[in-house]
Every structure is written in structure tokens, then in C-alpha cells.
């Protein structure tokens, strides 16, 4: 991990999207066991994975992980907590009028 420059990794991944009544979910799993750390950015390559209604799609793709620099990682660890309201759920969006 470098202090200033970002490292970019190409990683094989499996994308699973379920668009069913029983379950609506979407997950990315890195097949080589890569893990993401605070401040890293992940981009799944290719066109959007679009599951039609009732469908579960599981696809092998490539993900680009842009590693955060040491400074960014530190910064994200120090400041991430301030965004804690993201974790809370209020039934409505934050827009004051819809």
C-alpha cells in the first residue's frame, strides 16, 4: 500500500442478483478471496446486470478494485463514523418535499 498512489487490481468476481418476490438482493463475491478495505473503490465491469422480474442471475465478471492510498484509508477510518446516519432507517427519504 502506497502513501500517495492508488493501486488498481482486476479481480474475478461472481455477481448474483435476485429480483423475485421471495427475495430482492444483489451481491458481489470476489472469487480469489480479495477483500476490500476502507476507502477502496469497486467497479464491476460490463453492462448493468439486469434481472427481470422473477429472475435470479448469477454471472462471472471482472471487478476493478482501486485501492485507497494509506492516507485515504486512514482518513476513511477516521471520518467514516460521522456518516453513521446512513445506517439508520426512517421510512422516508431525506427530501423535505416529494
Amino acid at each position: 500500500m502506497s502513501l500517495f498512489s492508488r493501486k488498481v487490481e482486476q479481480v474475478p468476481c461472481t455477481v448474483e442478483v435476485s429480483h423475485r418476490f421471495e427475495a430482492l438482493h444483489a451481491h458481489v463475491r470476489f472469487n480469489d478471496g480479495s477483500v476490500v478495505h476502507p476507502g477502496d473503490e469497486v467497479l464491476v465491469q460490463g453492462p448493468p446486470v439486469l434481472a427481470a422480474w422473477g429472475e435470479v442471475i448469477s454471472e462471472d465478471r471482472t471487478a476493478t478494485i482501486t485501492r485507497a492510498t494509506a492516507l485515504e484509508r486512514l482518513w476513511t477510518r477516521l471520518t467514516g463514523d460521522f456518516e453513521f446516519m446512513e445506517l439508520c432507517e426512517f421510512s422516508f427519504s431525506e427530501e423535505m418535499s416529494v
Binding site: H19, R29, M85, L87, E89, M96
Partner: protein, 364 residues
């Protein structure tokens, strides 16, 4: 968990026609969850031994999956007259469905990640069941959205996602409160509609009871997790954090509920009454693990909530106004919101001692 649903305009520009796989869909909304990491080693170090008996019981209950058959549409799901719904109510109700769906969805993403990254079998099992429940709820709400002609787009996976970071304790406090407040919100509406069935403008409210029981047991799991380490709720600094979380969550809920007047009017719910009721229930429940309760009957409580709500309205107006005048007005509104928050935060709390046994059952 709160997430930002992208506005419909942004979406239309972004995905255009390519997603619409459902002929009924008149609009689509992109789920845009946030992605988090946490200290997974710390999660692995959790030892549930001190609460083992209660833990096993709760996990056993989750494993038996009592609500498995509940989230199905049956004859109770009556037809909704979307076309004749008051447009303002429809907008607010769809905002409710989309926000709830994205919240469940992002809970699912977070829990699944915790399950996948963890090596502690107790923790992995718990997060696995919770991810299952959240995906199920999300699917159920999504179906209601489809009926309303709103298609949910999961195309976010192929967009760049930045991972932010929360310490585990922040996840415990925030998700514990979210789950318990969710329970209190749903059960209060459910009980209200039992008394006033004519106000039930959509069948989804009939499912609120079992739904909120899931929320309740997720909250129980976080309560047990917090009990494994007494420092989390007993140290001086952590008590200040808990107080801060309670204040922030309650006041945000107050502001957001008041921004949805048509929704509450249609249900026949007075928002001030409803919010106080939800705060009361949540506060009472949270005493199972937090050593305090906010004094929501204190003379400074309600006036400052109202002040904060006015400040948020002014902020919105100032943003629309734009220019230097708008910026100044926004700054003024922000400081007035901050003062209101401080006035609430400094209300002396009602101290309490959590009971020896942490577990609760849904009682409202």
C-alpha cells in the same frame, strides 16, 4: 439503514429505456445502497459465551424461520386504486415504499458482507438469517412497488462504489436503534389501523405485525451482541455516544415524518402523537441494553423538535433560492438546527439499569 434513492430525473438520464423489463412500469427507481466495511477482526473476536443460553434460543428461533410463510400475497391483499389516489399521497407513499425497500436491501448487503467476511460461526450464522429476512422484506415491498408501476433497478452493481468505514460499535448502536424504532413505528401504525380499519389505504399495512416482529428479533440480536462487552454501554464516552445516537435518530425521525403530511393524514395519524408514541416505546425497549432513556416529556423536548423541523424547511427553501442570499439563509437555518439539537442533547437523561436478562419479546 438509510440510503439515497437517486432522483427519477437522474435515473431517466442514466438508464433510459434499457432496464424496463416490466411493461407495467411507468417509472423506475435505482436502488443506490452505500457500501461499508468495518473491523472484521473485532467481529471475529466477539465471544457470546456470557449470553450463550439467550443467544442459542434467539438463533434457534431465527433458524426455525416463523415468518417464512408470512410474506405472501393472499386474499387479504386487496386491490389498490392507484389511479384515483391523491397525487400527493401517492408521491409520499411511494417515497415510503422506495425508502423502506432500499433500507431493507442495504441491510441485506451489509449483513451478507459481515457474514462473508467473518470467521466466527456464531456471528456468521446470525448475519446469515438477518440477510435472509431483509431480502425477503425487500422483495415484498418491491412487489407493492411493481403494482404501483414503479420498477426497481438493481443496476448499481456496475457503478463504482466507494467503501466507507464504521467501527463495529457504531453499527451496533445504529442498527439496534433502527430495528427497534422500526418495530415501534410499524406496530404503532398496525394497532392504530386495527382501531380504524377504514384508514388502511393500502394492504401492506396488514403485514406490519409479523414484519415488525422480524425487526424486533434483529434488534434483540444486537442487544445480545452489546451485552457481550459491558464497555460498549457502560463507559463514559460510550454513554455520550448512545445519548447522541438516541437524540439524532429521534430528531431525524421527527423532521422526516413531518415532511410527509399527506401520508399520515390518510392514515388518520397525528404526527406529533405518533412520534411521541414511537419514542416512548423505543425508549422503553432500549432500556434492555442502554443505561438511560431520553426525557421526551421535558419542557425543552417538543419546542426544540419543532424548531429543528422549521430550520430544515428553511434550509430547503434557501437551497431553492440559491445565490448569496440563499447561502446566507441556509447558514442561518443550519445554525438554528444545530442549536435546537444542542438544546435537546443537553436535556438530562433518565438513568436506568439494564435488567440482568437482556431478552424481550414483542409486547405492544
Amino acid at each position: 439503514m438509510n440510503m439515497h434513492a437517486t432522483t427519477h430525473e437522474e435515473l431517466a438520464a442514466e438508464i433510459g429505456e434499457q432496464f424496463d423489463t416490466d411493461a407495467m412500469a411507468q417509472e423506475s427507481t435505482l436502488l443506490n445502497p452505500r457500501f461499508y466495511t468495518t473491523d472484521f477482526d473485532e467481529l471475529d473476536r466477539i465471544d457470546v459465551t456470557p449470553v450463550r443460553a439467550e443467544w442459542d434460543k434467539l438463533i434457534g428461533q431465527m433458524k426455525s424461520d416463523p415468518n417464512k410463510g408470512h410474506f405472501k400475497k393472499n386474499e387479504d391483499w386487496d386491490t389498490v386504486d392507484w389511479d384515483n389516489m391523491d397525487p400527493k399521497l401517492k408521491r409520499e407513499f411511494i417515497d415510503f415504499l422506495v425508502s423502506s425497500c432500499t433500507a431493507e436491501f442495504s441491510g441485506c448487503v451489509l449483513y451478507k458482507e459481515m457474514k462473508r467476511r467473518g470467521n466466527n460461526p456464531d456471528i456468521c450464522e446470525l448475519f446469515n438469517y438477518m440477510a435472509r429476512d431483509e431480502a425477503r422484506h425487500a422483495g415484498f415491498i418491491n412487489d407493492a412497488l411493481r403494482e404501483a408501476g414503479v420498477a426497481v433497478n438493481l443496476g448499481f452493481l456496475t457503478k463504482a462504489k466507494k467503501y466507507t468505514y464504521f467501527r463495529p460499535k457504531f453499527i451496533y448502536y445504529a442498527t439496534y436503534l433502527s430495528e427497534k424504532i422500526g418495530y415501534a413505528r410499524y406496530i404503532t401504525i398496525y394497532r392504530h389501523l386495527e382501531q380504524h380499519p377504514e384508514k388502511r389505504f393500502h394492504p401492506i399495512f396488514k403485514w406490519f405485525k409479523e414484519w415488525c416482529n422480524d425487526e424486533f428479533s434483529h434488534g434483540e440480536a444486537f442487544a445480545l451482541l452489546m451485552r457481550t462487552d459491558p464497555k460498549l454501554t457502560e463507559s463514559f464516552v460510550n454513554k455520550l455516544w448512545i445519548r447522541f445516537f438516541l437524540t439524532a435518530v429521534f430528531s431525524t425521525m421527527y423532521v422526516r415524518d413531518h415532511a410527509r403530511p399527506a401520508f399520515h393524514e390518510a392514515l388518520g395519524v397525528d404526527i406529533d402523537w405518533y412520534d411521541q408514541e414511537v419514542f416512548r416505546k423505543t425508549g422503553e425497549i432500549a432500556k434492555q441494553v442502554f443505561p438511560m432513556e431520553l426525557d421526551i416529556d421535558h419542557p425543552r423536548w417538543m419546542p426544540n423538535l419543532k424548531r429543528m423541523e422549521r430550520a430544515f424547511r428553511k434550509m430547503e427553501a434557501a437551497e431553492k433560492q440559491g445565490g448569496i442570499g440563499g447561502k446566507l439563509a441556509k447558514l442561518g437555518a443550519m445554525s438554528s438546527a444545530a442549536l435546537a439539537f444542542a438544546a435537546i442533547y443537553t436535556i438530562p437523561v433518565k438513568k436506568s439499569t439494564p435488567p440482568a436478562s437482556v431478552r424481550l419479546e414483542p409486547a405492544y
